[in-house]
């Protein structure tokens, strides 16, 4: 049975993935009979190339795909290298996981309200310091180079990569490595980068790849913080898809294919960078430098982490204040009066969508976790892994633009006469949740010392008992982390829920996004906070449950 797990996983996912891909590729080459595209042609590509600003759109998307993961990973590694054991480290580590729960769009709204010329920071310094009575005409948010967007993405990816790193670290026994390097005269940060980082990077490589794919193709954050004229390629694709002139659907599909190419290019460039760094890094490792600027680096790491965390936190605070604000104009730091009306108006519509979102996320996550565990357990047990080679298919949903992917999926399900509704939404969420669960869990799973299971086996436990009583409990923290990430991914799904539920499955996110289109910051504040509640619960459980269950087992929580 288990032997078939990869085949089952691929079979279950290949259908939707291929339908989604076909839905992108065929119209890109002119085929979509419903809109009169009966034959194959390159017309859409010619039209795409003629779109003004296309080169700049591509450049910003590519730059974002490379810079965001680079900076975010740099911050996380510097922080881990310099901060281990300090009080600040423990404080930040505890705070970052819940911050991961903040939905991307909410984080972007929060950050925009923080750094905009009319935002909280400007208000903090106005008018007593700046003399501004009106917001200055400064181009900060939505800058053409996409710096504000990249900042927002870094702030959001830092907690993600930190959580992934923390889940992978214990098995590296960093304390032992650092002690050894320390005994050789290496200062802590240098020791960490020379002994722990080379082991840790391979463990977080897949999450980094996911961050690359995300940063190069993100839509919601780009809409809020990103450049608008021209926008990122992903936003341009969305605009073409939503153009009232339905013939733009062909250009949009070609754009979506180009977007896949841009994401692949970002991944390829990163991979080239890895090779280069490996070559250069060996010389550095063998060079024997003990870390001259160690102290400064440690402070950089902690400072940057603190900044990223504060940006998220104060962005949230801004949203929270907005949600209870009456009239509130620049340069006032606080609203002129407070009101509960925005919450009272939302209250009757909150419970149902929250419950639906939780149910869908729970089902999609449990299904995904079961499939991923079966695939990984099968992989560790045996030599022959049928279908293993096709597992890369699972990652496709992460790099194909959702709007294009889902239109293909909608046509595919329609052809099979599958009724849009709750169960189709759950199945659709699995398509997007599973890759994240897989990439969160696969490395910790594969790297678990195989001798633990051998020990269990020589003590008389069969493979199944060894799985249930040794491997699973020992991996409970990464499993819960993966589940929390999966829940957050599911709860964040807007288009998948709308398209596969025909708009009839209302979750907290579909409500939030629909209302956000009205641009009322008070309403956005209410719904962004409501949307953050469920992922926060998930991460809270993932963080606290192991500590509670294993409070008498030091070996289970030797982190950092």
């Amino acid at each position: 049975m288990l032997r078939l797990a990869p085949i089952v996983a691929v079979a279950v996912l290949a259908g939707p993935v291929l339908a989604g891909l076909a839905g992108v590729l065929l119209p890109a080459f002119g085929y979509l009979p419903a809109l009169g595209g009966e034959g194959l042609s390159l017309l859409a590509w010619r039209q795409l190339v003629a779109q003004p600003g296309l080169a700049q759109s591509v450049a910003v998307s590519l730059a974002s795909g490379l810079l965001v993961p680079l900076v975010a990973l740099g911050i996380v590694f510097l922080f881990l290298a310099g901060g281990s054991g300090t009080r600040l480290f423990a404080l930040i580590r505890g705070a970052m996981s819940p911050l991961l729960a903040v939905p991307h769009a909410a984080a972007a709204f929060g950050l925009a309200f923080l750094i905009a010329p009319s935002g909280l920071l400007a208000r903090l310094a106005s008018p007593w310091l700046t003399g501004w009575l009106r917001p200055p005409d400064l181009l900060i948010v939505q800058d053409p180079a996409g710096l504000a967007m990249m900042l927002g993405l870094v702030v959001k990816e830092v907690p993600f990569l930190l959580l992934m790193s923390l889940a992978a670290l214990p098995q590296l026994r960093p304390q032992a490595r650092l002690a050894l390097a320390g005994s050789l005269g290496y200062r802590p940060v240098a020791a960490w980068f020379k002994t722990v980082a080379p082991g840790l990077y391979p463990l977080v490589r897949l999450p980094v790849f996911a961050a690359i794919a995300y940063a190069s193709s993100v839509v919601d954050v780009a809409l809020i913080l990103g450049p608008s004229n021209p926008p990122t390629l992903s936003v341009a694709v969305l605009r073409w898809f939503n153009d009232p002139d339905l013939s733009y659907r062909f250009v949009a599909s070609a754009g979506a294919v180009l977007q896949i190419g841009v994401t692949m290019a970002a991944l390829a460039l990163w991979w080239g960078g890895e090779l280069l760094l490996a070559a250069l890094g060996r010389a550095w490792l063998e060079g024997g430098g003990r870390g001259r600027i160690d102290h400064a680096l440690a402070w950089c790491g902690q400072g940057a982490m603190l900044l990223a965390g504060s940006a998220l936190l104060f962005g949230l605070v801004g949203l929270a204040v907005n949600s209870v604000a009456g009239f509130w104009r620049f340069p006032h730091l606080l609203p002129e009066h407070f009101t509960a009306r925005h919450w009272l108006a939302a209250a009757p519509n909150l419970a149902g969508p929250l419950g639906t979102a939780l149910l869908i996320a729970g089902l999609a996550t449990v299904l995904s976790l079961a499939v991923v565990l079966a695939v990984l357990e099968n992989e560790t047990r045996g030599a022959r892994r049928p279908g293993q080679a096709a597992l890369w298919l699972l990652y496709l949903p992460l790099i194909v633009p959702q709007v294009a992917f889902l239109s293909g999926l909608a046509i595919g399900t329609g052809m099979l006469s599958l009724r849009p509704g709750f169960w189709l939404v759950v199945a659709g969420h699995v398509v997007f949740v599973l890759p994240y669960v897989f990439l969160s869990l696969s490395e910790p799973y594969r790297r678990l010392d195989p001798r633990w299971v051998m020990a269990a086996r020589t003590l008389g436990a069969g493979p199944d008992r060894a799985f249930w009583t040794v491997r699973l409990p020992m991996l409970s923290t990464p499993c819960l982390t993966a589940a929390a990430v999966g829940m957050a991914v599911s709860i964040g799904q807007y288009l998948a829920t709308q398209v596969l539920g025909a708009g009839r499955v209302a979750t907290v996110t579909t409500e939030a996004v629909a209302l956000a289109s009205g641009g009322n910051r008070r309403v956005i504040g209410v719904w962004a906070l409501a949307q953050a509640v469920l992922p926060a619960l998930g991460f809270g459980v993932a963080l606290l449950a192991p500590r509670l269950v294993w409070r008498q087992r030091r070996g289970m929580r030797s982190l950092g």
């Binding site: 001798r451 633990w452 051998m454 003590l459 008389g460 008498q552 087992r553 030091r554 070996g555």
Partner: protein
Amino acid sequence: MAAPPTTGGLALRGVRIGLRGTTLIDIDAAIAPGEVLTVMGRSGAGKSTLLAYIAGFLDPAFSAAGEVLLDGAAIQLLPAQARGVGLLFQDPLLFPHLSVGGNLLFGMPRQAGAGRSVRWAMMLAALDSAGLAGFEARDPATLSGGQKARAALLRLMLSRPRAVLLDEPFSALDATLRDDIRTLVFGQIRRAGLPCLLVTHDAEDAASAGGTVIELG
């Protein structure tokens, strides 16, 4: 195939293990109950590969032939948990999510008539015998190196193996502890009358074991 011998103990008959056409190991040996056979060799000489073959964890990348006979029966085709071969690693590998007592209970076979209380009593007696009385509820992470090594040995013995494999079990221990633990391990194995295969690169281990020594590679 040769007819199985009637003698007890662990025997390796024409065991030959290769990787991509190169033969790494070619061994014939017999270990009587209560005896220790020491296999020595540089690291990379295939010592651990031999243990993996006997215990049932050989990576499928290797090609292997030959019989492993335990008390006269061929076991090389059985799954690892059914072979009756116990294994002691370089690290004690006490399961971090179980208590010390839980670790010991993990390997105890469930015999007919022996209920929870009987097993529990056996576990307590074993701890007592090794100077670990009162440790049953302790977190393994709080034990000293010597205590962990002793607990690991108890866990192994309580699983009632019919042969024992030792994979450099003393190399991670402090020099001051090493002699004590060696004496304890070999003493227990001899008293139980188990055939034992020791893999090491430490000549002192071999001397302490006091049996035949084979050099690999």
